[in-house]
């Protein structure tokens, strides 16, 4: 009875349609966001070394990939269009942002740069979304690989995009937001956190409104959706655009705030797969799932890798990383067997049980 909604009556449709209609959820999320902003700042003061590792290697990648996963989830989880081109769209975001930053010194504010990256990615996303009218399901997934490889190729080959760097690698520095220099890991973390919070709220708004319903309708049964009046192409393209926008912003943030210097390989096909994994493991069609999935895919290997050290076991590096592979594989399978609909669903069931607790049903 911990998680009790009895007694919480809604008196208006707006209240019933709020993002978090249940009081406990609302409080929890607000607390979490406040904590996300404040706790690391406190930690940075208390244990700077640990904080730095936490920021650069755990929190920043986690947030960036969460955002990419939210984007991909919009496309795959909500609109049902499987895409393996995420890495490519991230690359578009990153390189578009880089070129704006490099070539137009006037606009060097990161927010504008990221927006531009996202918009360019959205444009490219629309282009590669066009075949989705005719091509469906698995065939579409493979077709999006064309986007992945083609975009990879473009950024690796067109010298202008990398400012004629001999190695194809680009670097950025002296970043600012609203005139404030972003040079410490904590500053980078806070920028990313702010962007992710805002975009996540936007995503949540989109998926609970009529646009979200049109995506889900197309996902669940595209023929029926068309018959009741949705325009399939327009709906799908919108999903491609919004999704690519998110992914593009994530790509730009990954390049600018996580790597600082990057090469096209940072956005290769493995990245696409990794983000798809996050979406599936986390839960298709769930914003929360995108975060859970990202946490799982980012954290598990790091934890597994360090586990022997924590336990005081001495193992060869090779053995550790092979074990990491094996255990990671087993965990994926395990979670899928426990709940094929992902961690988010697992969480929902847990909540449902809490609601009934202490009674079994």
């Amino acid at each position: 009875m911990l998680y009790r909604e009895a007694g919480q009556f809604k008196t208006s449709y707006s209240a019933d349609q709020a993002i978090f209609p249940i009081l406990q959820d609302r409080l929890f999320v607000i607390a979490l966001i406040v904590l996300a902003f404040l706790a690391p700042v406190a930690l940075a003061a208390a244990a700077p070394g640990l904080a730095q590792y936490l920021f650069t290697e755990i929190l920043i990648p986690f947030l960036v990939f969460s955002l990419a996963a939210v984007g991909l989830n919009i496309l795959v989880g909500y609109c049902g269009q499987v895409s393996l081109g995420t890495g490519g769209f991230m690359a578009v975001g990153a390189y578009a942002a880089y070129n704006l930053w490099l070539r137009v010194p006037l606009v060097n504010d990161l927010i504008i740069v990221f927006l531009f990256g996202g918009l360019m990615a959205a444009a490219v996303g629309i282009l590669f979304g066009l075949p989705s009218l005719r091509i469906k399901g698995f065939y579409l997934a493979v077709a999006t690989l064309a986007a992945q490889f083609f975009l990879d190729w473009i950024v690796a080959r067109v010298k202008w995009l990398t400012n004629y760097s001999s190695s194809g690698s680009v670097a950025v520095g002296n970043l600012t937001v609203l005139g404030i220099p972003i040079d410490t890991p904590m500053a980078r973390y806070l920028v990313i956190l702010a962007v992710v919070v805002v975009l996540t709220l936007v995503a949540k708004n989109l998926v609970r409104g009529h646009i979200g319903r049109s995506w889900m309708a197309i996902r669940d049964m595209d023929i029926a959706a068309e018959i009741i009046g949705f325009r399939p192409l327009r709906t799908k393209l919108l999903a491609f655009a919004v999704s690519s926008f998110y992914v593009g912003v994530a790509g730009a943030m990954y390049g600018f705030l996580r790597l600082g210097a990057w090469e096209p390989l940072a956005f290769d096909i493995n990245r696409s797969f990794a983000i798809l994994f996050m979406v599936i493991i986390g839960g298709l069609g769930s914003i929360l799932g995108s975060f859970l999935g990202a946490a799982f895919i980012v954290l598990t290997p790091i934890m597994l890798n360090q586990l022997p050290g924590w336990l005081g076991l001495h193992m060869s590096t090779a053995l550790i990383s092979h074990l990491e592979f094996m255990i990671f594989g087993v965990m994926i399978v395990f979670f899928l067997i426990v709940e094929p609909h992902g961690l988010a669903r697992l969480w929902a069931i847990a909540k449902e049980k809490l609601r009934l607790w202490p009674f079994p049903h």
Binding site: Y13, G209, H210, F230
Partner: protein, 263 residues
Amino acid sequence: MARAAHATGEVLLSLENISLRFGGVKALTDISFDIRKGEIRAIIGPNGAGKSSMLNCINGFYHPQEGRITYKGVTRRQMRPHQAAEQGIARTFQNIALFKGMSTLDNIMTGRNLRMKTGLLAQALHWGPAQREENEHRAFVERIIDFLEIQHIRKVPVGRLPYGLQKRVELGRALAAEPELLLLDEPMAGMNLEEKQDMCRFVLDVNDQFGTTICLIEHDMGVVMDISDRVVVLDYGKKIGDGTPDEVKASPDVIAAYLGTSH
């Protein structure tokens, strides 16, 4: 027995010489009939007669090789299904075609999509007009939910619902569009008598209160004969009867092909 007082007699939809083939299979051969404004029109016939295909032609999902379809005085040849929806044709499906991952409420809300106009930006912020619009439509949908007595399953994902309730939700989704022409493909299959009575009531009320024209496929002859104004009988793609229930019931062709003697 001219039941519907509001039936004006004006032709809403007319089909002329429709023929539809799939490879070698002739689903429809040279069929003509019309639907008048405000009436309840039934299509009956044995399995595989082409009834569902007929509905598919009407709402633009199938494109007949020959023939003309005139809706509200406009003749059309090729159209996409969503255009039909925009012109006020809604339908339900024989094999339930609900959006399985969404709740009952959301499913019915999709029926109102054509009337929801706010753009991406407003939606993204969920502020002002977007929220107002959402609430207005929600209120309309809640009326349908009350009407169909499905309040208790409002938030349940439809994939989990039993068959009969899914049929009802599907009707709700079609009604939400406030259609002028409602096509129902076996709306009462898989229901027991009591539920069929309810369903008939819904259909009649919709027809009465909103003046919605209804075209309905049903195998339960009791239902068809009781509630429809006129009946078309198909048999293996050919039209073998057309008229009031009494006329059809008396037609020897129809008796031989479909009704049998037991009815």
